[in-house]
Symmetry: C2
Subunit: 219 residues, 2 copies
Amino acid sequence: MRISELAERSGVPLPTVKYYLREGLLIPGVATSATSAIYDEGHVRRLALVRALAAQGLPLEKIKTVVDLVDNPRDDLFVELGHAIAALPPYVDDSAGPDFPRARRLLERLGQLYDPRFAAVAQLEHALAALEAAGLRMGERRIDTYGRHVRAIAEVDLELLPTRSREATVEAAVLGTALYEPVLTAMRRLAHQHLAARRFGSDEPPTTSGDPATHDHRE
Amino acid sequence: MRISELAERSGVPLPTVKYYLREGLLIPGVATSATSAIYDEGHVRRLALVRALAAQGLPLEKIKTVVDLVDNPRDDLFVELGHAIAALPPYVDDSAGPDFPRARRLLERLGQLYDPRFAAVAQLEHALAALEAAGLRMGERRIDTYGRHVRAIAEVDLELLPTRSREATVEAAVLGTALYEPVLTAMRRLAHQHLAARRFGSDEPPTTSGDPATHDHRE
DNA sequence: AATATTGGATAGCTGTAGTATCCGATGTCA
DNA sequence: TGACATCGGATACTACAGCTATCCAATATT
């Protein structure tokens, strides 16, 4: 297909497709002449990936590192995967210290590997520091609960990860990380509302079926 | 304290403090004359809150709605709380359709209340749509697993929510939603790496201290 | 009295993510 | 074969967020 069809098929405005080509987010089509190139399903897929990541707030520059990785996976797959996933929000400057004490405490309590080279360790440290800056501290009860349930979730994630090819694995892992996270946070918010409606039962207790007129089930 | 001390104490550059005052993110200090006003600990706390939310990528405009709510909670607390939390990323245009079929399917499967007016429902729908756009679909196994464990996490969240005052509850709920989410996502990423290292054994097999073999922590 | 700081206003800067316009080459159909 | 649309590619412009800098006159401070 030609570029205009690619734009149409993917729902991305043509000037934006050109922009992505300029930025290297999309590999150029096969040029058939000075004024035409053909694009294939792979380009449609790539465009969907880019838009999906962008919709999650990932800067194009980071998306570029992700798609580069998907295109040519490195030997040290999981190290690189870690870095690719680290490119996902929230961003932290991994320039930070050689040690991440809050993250270390949490991971050691959970009996998990603490390796400061994992980008997610810096993210965790950053998140815990933000918590402290706001006057909160993550207690042991919360650490244990989160740890147990998050690990159970991660186990299923790993189980459901395709392994048919390295490229498919990388793409699914990156996509899954980026795209299931908002699902999880939305689900947590809804669980809060669901439980809070019962616990605090504001004006009207929720009737789980029917009656969409019932309101105030917020957290 | 005066504005310069406030800036110093909070670590926020003075021009930025002024900017936040302009934007209404910080209530003005008590003016003692035309050229001086005094600020207190509440301002330091507020500044920490604003920066904590901003560090999570929340636009200042949304932060404003949150701090406004913290300052003057409404009567219908949980409704407003839902709206405040809806102001947190990811943003969706809740102008969307009157029905959210993907979210509905998921919630019904989990036996949870489906109410399209919940902002988080629109977020969930948005996230599930992004998944589909990328060629993924959330299977029943994943739905069930996520649902069970997310609910367990939410139960603890609710338990640990302070109830000593309405304002404290609102602030803790908003802060907790905003600040524990990145903790959860970082923990999930680390759990992935922890498990993946074992399963796929990358170049450097991480020698965990205790190596607590894969326990299945499902309840 | 000399100097510094304050609150307040206005203007400018930087980065991200696009849009818009122009171009000359080329494909398409009458 | 010629008229005209479309193409790939380059350059320029725009919109918005989030600061940052400068200026000012009134007031503290020393």
